[in-house]
Symmetry: C2
């Protein structure tokens, strides 16, 4: 019953037939979306990646085709030859809704069992099923659209970099294990027993070497790997748009990347963004939004009211300040009536996951000001808080008192949670901001030393270089992130380009000369021989495509993603291997640690 | 002494200044190629990725710059501002040889120690040094040119596929270990203890799934991995141009790929190749050239003279035929006088590495025919050989008698070796041929069963399908390789697209139903739900770039290659890892197998 393609060749795609094709003989091929037998006529929706055409089998045109058509079922693969005619009852929902194709030849190219998931966008099947039957899930039009947008975005990026004299250069996948940062995926070497490669977390060192090599401008769209415990929108392997340029400073990198971002949004979304994209210093982002990834689609800025309450009798406030923390608040202007006690207590529970001990609030409505903490505050303090936070009728403010880190984290998440709850986020706009002037270091409590906030090759802001040896915590970095709608889409920095400064940096990180050489020897060796000023950027490509497609789930923009357990439900990778394979690699499995 | 870039920005690249720029103020940045101090003038060749400009420091223009310039050495990174003037003594070897730049401002951006290898194309340093100091080796102009051609080729490929509606789709790097074929690189899973991923040898199964998903046309330029003992031009990680299309047969895949190949050669080499590219069946390639990768830049065809000598008294010939082998020969027309006894005995030694027991030869010159085997042959046989091989004055023929495999292998390599020795291969021409009608199976002596010559999903030639169960050795495959100048540049096939045929194939390979499911379960599952006819191709991208750049060493077209021992002399990967890392992965190193 299954037939060969033979000499039959497709003349059109299913989604492209219009009135212009009327009376043409066409050959279409694709999958049967649905089939209806109405007496002497069988109607089939035929689907390919471009869309659907209605095709009609008429007993009076071809008995043979009609009879064969009676046997076809959903997801059969067929080829048809037929004549395009104008449709009696047009279907405005369909691009090809003006026409239908009357078939005079049918070939059944492959059969199908009843598929375990429906091929329609809102099938409401579990994600487990979708991942297990990914080859069916990818037949859905929205999934195919995601893949198309991913393709198109990659193409725009590649053309842009090419036009700007960036060379696409491939860096190795089998690398040296990295001494700092996240956990590597490791690959035992068979020919070098007992030794391991690491899959790259990023091509950072290699792209710096390319600048040392005089390649001038480099880019790559490249898979990177992190063996970390996976959070919701993380994948063990992810894709980076990676770029680096020589003889530049911050503004050069930012400026060229703005042009790229402009181009992507214009070509994919039809939106012309304003250039230059606004910039915000790290400190301001933290102060106003409690995050270095502020979502600027809505206000709800954080305000510091520490000066108002530092001497308050209310020890929750004044105590937090006395022990080096602060009291900060957000005025949710005009939404007082949206927050029942129940809702507030839910919010409080939410921010406790970020370390807050509690959530204070003050409402103002027809009946005046109300709040559980009023009784602890003086009239004067209440008045000043009211003024400082501009509390008017209809407002509700939320206040957190704690160490700065906790206050920022709690209120930063609170403002987003509130905006989501109120459903005031416009999903059609894209608010972009460059965050700059990051701290160069952050203190690692576990290791009891400063660690690089980005990586140990980030260039300090020029005027802060003298502070490296005295007050490293005050040194800002020549680093920049582009944040869109609260997501970090790309980040980069200017790199250190001379040995003396690099050594100062290592000293500030607490590395001895010997340790530094052990960890980064080949880069330090390269640094002896003339390094141009250089800097670059890396985009999270999966995240960028999520933003462009409006997907909330990273797995919806990756053809074959893994679960949060880093497994493939489709192929069942990873799997056990044979004793012989282990022997060849000079390793053995040792589960004793797990017992 | 080292200065910051400050506000200075490059106005031109070093390689692009011409007479048109005379009198312009320009800013150039780059590396010092060489410096000559001629009294009051210092001449510097300044180099970037585009080329070299001569810059001049004149004591009378800027004393400060002149004095700083006196300190600069080879490979220092500098920025200069100056005026373009016409050169007194033009340098025709240099693109910018008409001009020089008189400097009024100099910044030294980084110093350099004396580099361990010279930055010039013919430095005659060992490859070990080149790989260890790759960041310097990549400063050489021919190496940068290789990287540029690689970039440009990738760009042509991507644009071509995009224009032809192929979607770039990324397939996973962390895969299920493959049951057939070469050895996988394996990656232990931390979160799934005792289980392993495999790095892909090719995205074969995933791209077939994409066709099942209705993606219609797919391509990817993608890293693949094989943990095999490395031969000269092999790398553990290599790059493939991978493509697959639906609703096609052989001619469709060949035709679109010919257009791509045409485009690549036109844009990179300026050569318009003739389309269609000629085709040759596998059997003919073996018979005439002793190889399925024939180099057609020269003749020296193999001829079968078995029928002439099958009854010969000379048992070396007749015996080989009697035991199922053959006697074949090549006439090296007109080069008789190039082959001394010493040279012939060298050739004999060479072909013995391919299993031949000896090399017979017959010469004809002024003095008539001569050969060590004449005495074993009858007059009549000699006459027939002469006629069959068209032996004329000035010719020499080489004859091998053995099993077919050995005869083909020996003479196939001999004809190439001879052509190389005679130096008659034109390196500027590209002789292309599609090899088709490969056998579907080959017999694996070790496993005592048929194995797939390409892979188990290759579609048999339609008319041979009935032979699958009776005479599998006779079944031809819908497979095709494109061979250029004796190198296999790409290969592919039409795939099986229905379950019944796939099962027949597995049976022919000796797999039980259960084994087949264990090995290829997810593909077989996918095959239940409507598979379009499909086929594709994969190019060895590194090899293609070797061909386009004329490089003989695969490492010269890869930025950061590995040695034949699969190590990086630059980064020293692979390396030992810590006990803690091993524990986390639930593995331990077991060197006992090596003792």
């Amino acid at each position: 019953m299954i037939e060969k393609l033979g000499n039959l060749r497709r003349t059109h795609m299913c989604g492209e037939l219009t009135k212009d094709n009327i009376n043409e003989q066409v050959v279409l091929m694709g999958w049967v979306q649905k089939r209806r037998n109405l007496g002497g006529l069988i109607f089939v929706d035929l689907r390919d990646i471009t869309g659907i055409s209605q095709i009609v089998f008429d007993n009076e045109i071809s008995v043979e085709s009609f009879e064969k058509a009676d046997a076809i079922r959903s997801e059969y693969v067929i080829a048809i030859k037929g004549k395009v005619v104008e449709r009696q009852s047009k279907n405005k929902e369909l691009a090809t809704g003006d026409i239908e194709v009357f078939v005079n030849e049918l070939k059944i190219l492959d059969k199908s069992e009843t598929p375990p998931i429906y091929i329609k966008d809102n099938d409401e099947v579990s994600e487990k099923m979708r991942l297990q039957y990914r080859f069916l899930d990818l037949r859905k039009s929205y999934m195919q659209n995601n893949i198309k947008i991913r393709h198109k975005t990659a193409k725009i990026v590649r053309n842009f970099f090419d036009e700007n004299n960036f060379l696409e250069i491939e860096t190795p996948v089998l690398n040296k294990p990295t001494p700092e940062g996240a956990r590597d995926y490791l690959v035992p070497s068979r020919v070098n027993p007992g030794k391991f490669y690491a899959l790259p977390q990023s091509p950072q060192l290699m792209k710096q070497l390319l600048m040392v090599s005089g390649m001038d401008r480099y880019y790559q769209i490249v898979k990177c790997f992190r063996d970390e415990d996976l959070r919701a929108n993380r994948q063990p392997e992810f894709t980076q748009i990676d770029a680096e340029m020589s003889f530049v400073d911050i503004d050069d990198v930012i400026s060229i990347n703005e042009k790229l971002i402009y181009k992507i949004f214009k070509e994919i979304k039809g939106i012309e963004i304003d250039l230059p994209i606004k910039r915000m210093k790290y400190d301001e982002a933290m102060e106003s939004y409690g995050s270095d990834k502020p979502d600027l689609r809505f206000e709800f800025k954080i305000k510091n009211i520490s000066n108002v309450v530092e001497n308050s009798e209310f020890k929750v406030f004044s105590g937090a300040i006395a022990s080096g923390g602060s009291v900060r608040a957000i005025n949710i202007k005009g939404y007082e009536n949206e927050f029942s006690r129940k809702k507030i207590s839910k919010l409080e529970k939410y921010i406790k996951t970020y370390g807050a001990k509690g959530l204070a609030w003050i409402k103002m409505n027809e009946e005046g000001i109300s709040s559980p903490i009023l009784k602890f505050l003086s009239e004067e303090e209440i008045g000043e808080i009211k003024q400082e936070l501009d509390i008017e009728k209809g407002d509700i403010v939320f206040i957190v008192a704690d160490k700065d880190k906790i206050v920022f984290d709690s209120l930063g998440h609170l403002r987003i949670e509130v905006a989501k709850t109120l459903d005031i986020i416009d999903e059609d706009i894209f608010e972009m901001v460059w965050i700059t002037d990051f701290p160069l270091f952050e203190y690692d409590e576990d290791e009891d030393r400063y660690v690089a906030k980005h990586h140990p090759f980030t260039h300090p802001v020029d005027e802060d270089i003298p502070l490296l040896e005295t007050e490293p915590e005050k040194v800002k970095a020549k680093a920049y992130d582009i944040v869109i709608n609260g997501d970090e889409i790309a980040g980069g920095s200017i790199r250190i380009n001379n040995t003396e400064l690099q050594q100062k940096m290592f000293r500030a990180l607490g590395f001895t000369e010997e340790e530094a050489w052990k960890k980064f020897g080949f880069l330090l060796e390269a640094f002896k021989y003339g390094v141009p000023p250089h800097g670059g950027i890396a985009y999270g490509f999966d995240r960028l495509v999520m933003l462009l497609t409006g997907m909330k789930n990273i797995r919806d923009v990756i053809a074959f993603p893994k679960t949060q357990n880093a497994t493939s439900l489709l192929t069942e990778a990873p799997t056990e291997i044979t004793e012989e394979q282990l022997k060849e690699l000079s390793i053995q499995v040792n589960m004793s640690e797990l017992k």
